[in-house]
Symmetry: C3
Subunit: 149 residues, 3 copies
């Protein structure tokens, strides 16, 4: 059995992975915009032209940076596990549902973390659902290829 680019699950994986990549990039621009609006920078050469100062502890900038780091901790693992999960021939509708819920949850996560900080458990839920989806996909992959261990 080969993986085909015409396969619905493959195409679903591709489009949601690309959306998550652009979302990850967008959060790095959010950090820059927050730095500029707060006039708070990590490097003296950035501060000098924008009449800001160097400050590595601004709470609003650090909050966006934590949201960004959380994406870095989670989205590349989705790219890998999602791609491997596709190779296990999952049911198309189910796999697509997982990819959609994953993607929407990660957008909500960033929103409640860095755009409009909400009381817990908002962020916990928005983190937990995609986190469990990754574990589910990973376990499916390991079970499917367990003979190769």
């Amino acid at each position: 059995m080969a993986i085909s680019l015409q396969d619905a699950v493959v195409q679903s994986y591709i489009v949601y992975s690309a959306i998550l990549a652009l979302k990850l990039l967008a959060v790095s621009t959010m950090t820059s915009m927050k730095r500029i609006s707060r006039k708070v920078f990590a490097n003296p050469e950035d501060a000098v032209g924008l009449k800001g100062k160097v400050n590595l502890n601004d709470p609003e900038v650090e909050r966006v940076r934590r949201a960004h780091l959380n994406d870095l901790e989670n989205i590349p693992a989705f790219w890998l596990l999602g791609a491997l999960y596709v190779t296990t021939s999952p049911v198309a509708a189910w796999a697509t549902l997982l990819f959609r819920v994953y993607t929407v949850s990660r957008f909500i996560h960033t929103f409640v973390y860095a755009v409009v900080p909400l009381p817990q458990p908002a962020r916990g839920i928005a983190f937990g659902i995609p986190y469990l989806i990754k574990w589910y996909m990973g376990i499916q992959v390991i079970l499917h290829y367990a003979t190769a261990l």
Copy 2:
């Protein structure tokens, strides 16, 4: 020549990559558990429900976070380089050995960094072996595809 999912090296790559992804996810849960046990959080909305306080400098939490960051700096590069290395048609037993040693070493790295901190060179060795495996795979890939530069 095509890459087949029935190929032993491909299956070995898939299963060890998935294990490393779940290991990466597990360290993020280790961080949360350490935060809860130390009652030390990065966000006020996390601290309030768990009767903790905001502290970004707790040495035990920061140690787990450094172990996590070290995984982030290393494991995605393995996913990429391992996948590309598979396309160079390596000898199956050798490639599988590299993937196994890589995976075991990264588990040991986390253990001696964040679970039971050991004196150096324990962590240095557990870092260095998988680090050299990545360089080896990367150089093999570049040599194999050097005409495409």
Copy 3:
């Protein structure tokens, strides 16, 4: 249509992705070398053998670490988006040019950030060009697979 390892765009993607992976690994060694030369470490077990001290705020070490983190925020997204972009059958010369410019720019970024810090907009340009290339590839991918949304 299938993806072939003999395809020029595929080979170009593979070789530049591998170079970027080794570049990412090299920056982690740059951090270690900077720590050793400054005798400044993140862990007491590292400081003890090398007669250094624990300091998480050394400006030169932190500058290299920020360059490293910037690579982590950008290079894995290139690996993903570049691979997906290859599946959209881009014109070979154009795709190869993008991969080359991307790779060279990321080397320049690290150079002007962490080796010889230059005034802005040096780093901004070296960041912006590969950043826009990722957006371009990502949008091409989403448009190509939009029916799978």
